[in-house]
Symmetry: C2
Subunit: 639 residues, 2 copies
């Protein structure tokens, strides 16, 4: 099946490459701000390959093309790339080279690699530089050789992609100190203290959520992320905010001006940095957050400016929510919990409906998604979903990042698992929850696997651990019950979540292998992280159970209805070896008891589940009608 | 109290420094091979400072001297340095500079730093080079400046230390393929394949256990480690072995010659490498294993030879024991288990002896150590202890690296824990075991803590995990029960152990933080690792429980008397997500049931203990007399 559309687009691209003297052109999945989701303007990789997963690099050369994506998308990419001639490169599978390894092997000295430097993080840009150097070194070319491999920064999509969508431009709005517990001035003070410590005069911010966090600013330029397209440069006494002025009201401008914010046109950042790079300024830049283009503006021979490359100080500040933010998130999760719990009750009624059982009554995945969206919209302060809802019946659940669309949309199957991974953005916070429910009778095996996933979820959430513990240390708690059954899941167990910001946020996470073999950031008070083990049987079903948890000092946790405490001499030990932390689960939605095989749980597991369910009932019941309440009482009754 | 002896030695050293134009001289704690233990010849730091702990750097300059050591030795060093004028630098304490930081601050341009480059690993030597560069940079000196700071490699102890002990020279002996399952030729083949992969012609080996592993060679030059002082250079068709010929019998020489081993005088390696560095040879060196002197012989301006710095391929090969070695280790652990179990029986009788209870009968720590040594010596193939025995009564147990000596030797206290961390070298393998027993009645709290340590030990040993799992992922299994009680221990949970080699061996280990923030080597089949959680209450007691475990494919494990298997569909999952691994505990000695509070264990913990104890009885009882057997039956009866 030859894909005519994609092949024509690739042909035009190759003409443009030839005209510009480019041998390899790389599209990555990114906007100018390393955002996780990108607006349509930035979807060149999708335009030229047809693959629309959330992660993928497309490399195009004279007589070939290849697309790299991760395990979540192997199936989907395989289907979408059919007939395009683009080779699928399964990331992290044995024998599959990385983009860089592939380039190093394929490129010849004198060839030119090109990409849009604004879309590539500094670190990766340097890696691509290293690839070129390695190619030259292999050919024994020295720095003076005219035939050296080179990099050319260009946005080739610009000319080739006809009818490219415009950049988004949506109004921004401001949070207040009442919402966050901290004012812009207080945040700026903390950030400037960190700049001082490293002897930096200015901090270049490119990540949209960093800017949103710092200025209490929220927008709607990125789907699901309440942020605005912008750059910022934090100086000693002012902040230059590069943003489309059309999206900033006079009131917002006024408020921020009081904190020394100066408004400049969005695209002026590159020219301004170029000009400033000839001054005696020390810039702080985060190599994982600023683009290769920004880096190239600031550095290079003859530039007077210095750069200090380090992790942006906002990364950790933003991850550690204030008490006001934590409390607000608890509220958001009750609002969200009510919506999801109401949906679960409707699904409960549906699965018991004789018309559904007989196949007469049909409900599709998209209908469930719509129903949940409506329930969420009825919640106080609802703004948007926090990501594209995954509503996946039966075998769709085994596709880890399945999203129903008009094409894939399926009818909810009876006697099959329905996996729902969804979330909301509320004025009070961001939610992310996965529940899997059985739409009929679960088989023994389905119960066994559901129970194993559930135990993993509960055990991780129940951890108590000292300062210095990373997600790699705790991951096993969620997985070990699956490992014992020969199972595992090819995704992390937990990711950080923003406060009314991105649903995926660093720097902490919970997974087995860390980031490039390094342990990730240790848990700190106020970090919010997801807890989402799963099981996926290709062509059959998926089970994932996800709660969000906030990291608190152990003494602040409530266990079995009373505060956790180190008693007697333990208090003394804890002073020596602590501080100790634990998690408070803030997601408030029952698990599907009909899918549990109690005989496979330990006594401790059962206690944890009962404790959680009791809390869910207490928090959610007040917002339900009588019928729902009766059902929830039963659903959360002690096992 | 003026220490005349040390001051005189330092004065002689300073004269020698002056004569040689040396401003700072650094002694480190190492031999030429980065061995963990060093022979007396290498104890120059002790000779010139009086401090005899196992870790310490001594820096001497014109009018001062300072000694760096770690937390284990602050007290001891403080006492031993009294009257020497040597300042104690407490490593890792706030405000205390490292040796390198101290030098960078103190040295002036044009001054000369000196040390014996054969005793300093490559990496550290480069750091010291960096110090000199930093000093010059601060003074704005360039490379051409004659007043540049410099490094001079010299062994100043050589002339000054009169009556320096000779280098050890003990006979070597050979293992055979029957002992290891692999011949020298087969090992050389594997090593040469790895050299080929990296385009290397020769591999320089300096670690004594690497050489011992490769050539099936064993010696007795390092206390507790059955290795011989030697270097080796593996070439394409031959191996140059630099070793004192006096310790090699004609028979050994003959046997090894057949595998292409050429014998050269121990000290000739430096000259030979210097000569070869002018040839077109690519050397493989491990920056963590070879000395700075070796590195300097091979590299530098004008040298024709190239070096590839990478982890020595033997590191991983040596860690993954062959099936023959594993089986041999099982035997060693039964022999060792019989000795330790017999000791436990004697301690059982002692604690019930009215004369001991009344205080009339006294037994000291050193007497227990002696008794255990005698029991071990009676075991088949016993060669030596594998490290200095830790026999620690009551509060001595809280000193993690306590070793009883004539001065500290205490009487075994009744109604107190006795911690015993000991090990043996047998012809069949290396052991390392810790048991803590209550010499009377355990209090409720003592039982609580003993049980928490025991549960940690059992749970870690019971893990099932997929390929790609590191020790950082599993560590929590041993610690979480302690964390819950506000406790932790300030040491790793597990270290690799050699096969009839060093009791501490890389590259895998089990700890929370990895090595410099990186996850350590993932578990592979055949790795032998210790499992040794503990609790230490300063001034009161210590509890540590240590078994050795061998990593095996899950399917090879025996659980509850039958082979572990993934049954039914799990077999299919395990193919997709595996291979899965687990541990077989090979240490065979009962735990102290009188110290256990069963009510604090889960049903699963109790099952694991009962299963282990049943196996201990089965393996050990045949070698006991009737009285011991009756006791062991009771001691290992199901809880």
């Amino acid at each position: 099946m030859y894909n005519d559309v994609i092949n024509k687009r690739l042909a035009s691209l190759r003409s443009a490459m030839k005209a510009a003297g480019i041998d390899y052109y790389l599209f990555v999945t990114a906007d100018y701000h390393s955002s996780e989701y990108v607006s349509d303007f930035f979807k060149a990789r999708e335009y030229f390959s047809g693959f629309n997963g959330s992660n993928g690099d497309l490399l195009v050369w004279k007589d070939g093309a290849a697309l790299w994506t991760d395990g979540r998308y192997f199936l989907q990419a395989g289907m979408q790339l059919e007939g395009t001639g683009i080779e699928l490169m399964k990331m992290a599978m044995p024998g599959v080279p990385t983009v860089e390894e592939f380039l190093e092997k394929s490129m010849l000295p004198g060839e030119t690699l090109s990409f849009d430097g604004r879309c590539i993080p500094l670190g990766r840009g340097k890696e691509l530089e290293d690839v070129c150097k390695a190619v030259d070194k292999k050919a024994c070319l020295d720095a003076e050789n005219p035939d050296k491999t080179s990099i050319k920064l260009a946005d080739l999509a610009d000319g080739v992609w006809t009818e490219r969508p415009a950049l988004p431009a949506n109004k921004v709005w401001l949070l207040t100190k009442e919402d966050t517990g901290e004012s812009v001035a207080e945040r700026l003070k903390r950030v400037r203290e960190e700049m001082d410590k490293k002897g930096c005069d200015e901090l270049v911010l490119s990540s949209l959520d960093d800017i949103a966090w710092l200025l209490l600013l929220r927008g709607a330029d990125i789907e699901f992320n309440p942020v605005a397209l912008s750059y910022a440069v934090v100086k000693k006494d002012s902040v230059d905010l590069y943003i489309n002025e059309d999206i900033v009201s006079g009131e917002v401008k006024n408020t921020l001006s009081k904190d020394g914010v100066c408004f400049k046109p969005y695209n002026d950042i590159y020219g301004d940095l170029r000009a400033d790079s000839d001054k005696d300024i020390t810039f702080m830049i985060d190599p994982k957050r600023v683009s290769y283009s920004i880096y190239k503006e600031l550095t290079g021979e003859g530039k007077k400016a210095k750069t200090v490359e380090c992790r942006c100080p906002i990364t950790l500040m933003k991850a550690c929510k204030t008490e006001v933010e934590i409390d607000s998130e608890r509220k958001a999760h009750i609002i969200d919990g009510v919506a999801v719990t109401k949906l679960l009750y409707r699904l409960y009624k549906l699965k018991n409906d004789p018309a559904f059982k007989s196949g007469e009554k049909k409900v599709t995945e998209l209908e469930v998604a719509d129903e949940l969206l409506k329930l969420r919209q009825a919640g106080e302060g609802f703004l948007d979903q926090s990501f594209a809802p995954i509503i996946a019946t039966a075998e769709h659940g085994a596709i880890i990042h399945y999203e129903p669309d008009e094409k894939s949309n399926a009818e909810i199957k009876k006697d099959a698992f329905l996996l729902m991974d969804t979330g909301g953005q509320y004025k009070t916070g961001t939610t992310d929850i996965t529940r899997t429910v059985m739409m009929g009778e679960a088989s023994e095996e389905e119960k066994k696997l559901y129970t194993a996933v559930l135990c993993g979820n509960l055990r991780l959430a129940n951890a108590i651990f000292p300062e210095g513990t990373s997600g790699q240390n705790l991951d096993v708690l969620a997985r070990s019950e699956l490992w014992r059954r020969g199972l595992d899941y090819r995704h992390g167990t937990g990711h950080g979540v923003g406060f009314l910001l991105n649903v995926h946020e660093g720097p902490q996470n919970i997974n087995l292998k860390g980031a490039a073999g390094k342990l990730t950031e240790t848990f700190k008070e106020g970090m919010i992280t997801s807890d989402e083990p799963g099981v996926y049987l290709d062509g059959e079903f998926g089970i994932r159970l996800e709660n969000m948890m906030v990291c608190l000092k152990a003494e602040k946790l409530v266990k079995n209805g009373k505060s956790f405490e180190f008693t007697g001499r333990e208090e003394g030990y804890a002073k020596e070896y602590g501080p100790f932390y634990g998690f408070e689960t803030i997601t408030m939605v029952p698990f599907d008891k009909t899918s549990i095989d109690k005989s496979l749980m330990t006594i401790e597991d059962i206690e944890l589940l009962n404790e959680y369910h009791a809390k869910v009932y207490k928090q959610i019941a007040p917002f339900l009608d009588e019928e729902e309440k009766v059902w929830l009482k039963e659903e959360t009754a002690a096992l």
